[in-house]
Symmetry: C2
Subunit: 401 residues, 2 copies
């Protein structure tokens, strides 16, 4: 059986970032830069005041002096003249420092008196001035390629005068659920059948991870129909199948996709839940075959599909971040398979995160999975642990899933 | 000056969740349920096998026995007959337990031999059977009102046969940036002007927080134009303005909006950056006036706007989650204002999160804000701290911003 890390490494190694596209600035949030963002101007564009007050010559700013106020320099409306000896210009935060002035007298250290101002506290030369280019300079790269853009980054790209961004395309991922026994919610359910939950749960996970999901019609266990749908996979950056991955079933997917030139990899992963995984390539399109069991499908998606989406989006595609948290209950020793136990999250009085694995870890239970915000990792051959011991866990809401 | 918590409490108290709408299941991810999701079927719909093997009568399952295999029960294709004495039915995970059978002989404990199977290990009655309704029962509420739906919840709503969901509308938030000196990226910049960054940074923040942003055209410092734009605010669940909130400027917003019936609240918040905040109501539409300074605007948006969006989305609207982390450098004592220091995040060898406040906390610096993934809280009158002391911080990427 293949260790989880090895399976993920092989998937990541086989994937490449999508090609670049140009998007308007507001559409860039959450996308990954394919090209760095370069400042198209210098910010601030000139020396500006950091405070409300008066711009003057430092030599004039001694306590008790009275200066003639010859104009004002609010943000966006620079004063056109020059500040001479014995003169001052009213200035506001962001206002350009007028020619001749070299320091700021704070508003609270001054008394306005008609067209004059009295200095109540001697100034320091150069104080309260934001120098030209303090934030960034024209030509400087303000955001590097490979960065996933936050709301703050969108602000920085805007301020540096970039109406367009060059980002990786969202990976477009086809989702194919197979099985005679499954029906869409609200549709007639075949005798002995169940309602399909994987395709739309995976679509939500893919969207939350930066991908663009396409839910394909459910395919019955019929090689011709599966082959027909798979034949359209060239339109996707990845095809994800769900169902048909268990030992007894994978022949069906293999047979159906084989006719379309599928190069099959079939792995038993040393993990619980979700042991079987199909990995291969249909033409140029990578294919990830997840188990049909909904809990196994979601856990495998967290461990393998999210890193794959990140890789295709232009990020490295790392393992999901593990957090060190405390288990609220004793944990048994583990066997040779990595165990991802569904667990609820709570906090103790000191604000420390506690995880409590669900008492029944049956991999069919979607209600338990929905309530379980953490996957507690029990590494292969992990020793038994007492309550309040430290464990590693994946916090699912932190991944947006 | 108003403490941050009091200002937030007043904002939250003045807001109500948006009305409900019906959305298709796939559009429910990230939305907040206005009505609980009720299971429309029982899952599993009958007793099913948890493993691959043979269904039989426990009394027949003694080591060494040989049973006649009279049919099979894969998932989705129940066996129509009855299992009698000395008989077994081939069964697969998820397959219905046939009438007459009451336990499962595991595949690995059996030897198939033509139409017969040999029992290699005596069975336990009732083992490896998932009972009807183990996951959920028809009529049970599987997801409560007020829950923000994860990808896992979408799977559970699907499995419980719900093609539609009743959720709160996304709060629609108009964003009005004001100022003679600002221009959109790529547009001509007035002399002494700068490029507007707030509106699109706020739009990204609003979208990431579950809101639906509408970026209004930039309004110059002209009361008639501002009033004209504000007159359309009835179409929004909230109007957010940026700029015109400093002490010298707020008269403009007040004068412009006053003509439209604006009930003004103007607060000086005991915080840094972002002291001034406008809060009021224009007809029935709440108005939140953020500072024009981009760093202040973003910090105020994290502290006040995100909880407001959550409240309007149907959540309680709590303070942003604070995490206990370690400061990598000594911190000075604080004055009477809560200080939210922009800080970078790193991890030490033990995987603990370290925060390093930017050496210059100038609130004009967008490049610093983009690099700062944490806001380190220095409470009013906080004592000086040595390096590696515990501090509270808001981790911005955890908020999706």
């Amino acid at each position: 059986m293949l260790p989880v890390e090895d399976a993920r490494a092989r998937i990541i190694a086989a994937l490449a970032p999508t090609a670049a596209e140009t998007v308007a600035l507001p559409d860039g949030a959450g996308r990954v830069l394919a090209r760095g963002v370069v400042a198209r101007l210098t910010q601030p564009p000139a020396d500006v005041s950091a405070m409300d007050g008066y711009a003057l010559r430092a030599a004039d700013g001694t306590e008790g002096a009275t200066l003639a106020v010859i104009g004002s320099s609010p943000a966006g409306r620079p004063f056109g003249g020059t500040v001479g000896a014995g003169q001052a210009v009213r200035i506001f935060t962001g206002g350009f420092i007028p020619t001749g002035a070299d320091t700021i007298l704070l508003q609270e250290d001054a008394t306005a008196d008609g067209d004059a101002v009295r200095v109540n506290e001697t100034v320091n030369p150069g104080r309260h001035i934001r120098r030209r280019g303090l934030d960034f300079s024209e030509g400087a790269e303000v955001l590097p390629a490979g960065r996933r853009l936050t709301a703050r980054d969108i602000g920085l790209a805007a301020a540096s005068n970039n109406p367009w961004l060059t980002v990786h395309r969202k990976p477009r991922i086809g989702i194919l659920a197979t099985g005679d026994e499954i029906a869409l919610p609200g549709d007639p359910i075949p005798a002995g059948g169940i309602v399909s939950s994987n395709a739309h749960a995976l679509a939500a996970l893919i969207r939350a991870s930066g991908g663009d999901p396409v839910v394909l019609p459910i395919a019955p266990d019929d090689t011709d129909i599966i082959a027909g749908v798979a034949g359209t996979a060239y339109a996707f950056d990845m095809l994800v199948t769900t169902g048909g991955a268990s030992v007894g079933e994978h022949d069906l997917i293999q047979k159906a996709l084989g006719a379309e030139g599928f190069e099959l990899g079939f792995w038993k992963i040393a993990m619980r839940p979700g042991k079987p995984l199909i990995w291969g390539r249909l033409g140029r399109t990578p294919v990830l075959g997840l188990p049909g069991n909904p809990v196994s499908a979601m856990v495998c998606a967290v461990l393998f599909l999210i890193p794959a989406i990140e890789r295709m989006s232009g990020l490295p595609g790392a393992a999901p971040r593990m957090r060190r948290v405390l288990t609220s209950v004793p944990l048994a020793e583990n066997d040779h398979r990595a165990d991802y136990q569904r667990a609820s999250v709570s906090f103790d009085k000191e604000g420390r995160m506690l995880v409590t694995p669900a008492p029944v870890q049956d991999s069919s239970m979607l209600a338990t999975l929905a309530r379980a915000d953490a996957l507690v990792l029990r590494a292969p051959h992990a020793h038994a642990l007492p309550a309040y011991a430290e464990v590693e866990a994946i916090i699912l809401p932190e991944l947006g899933v």
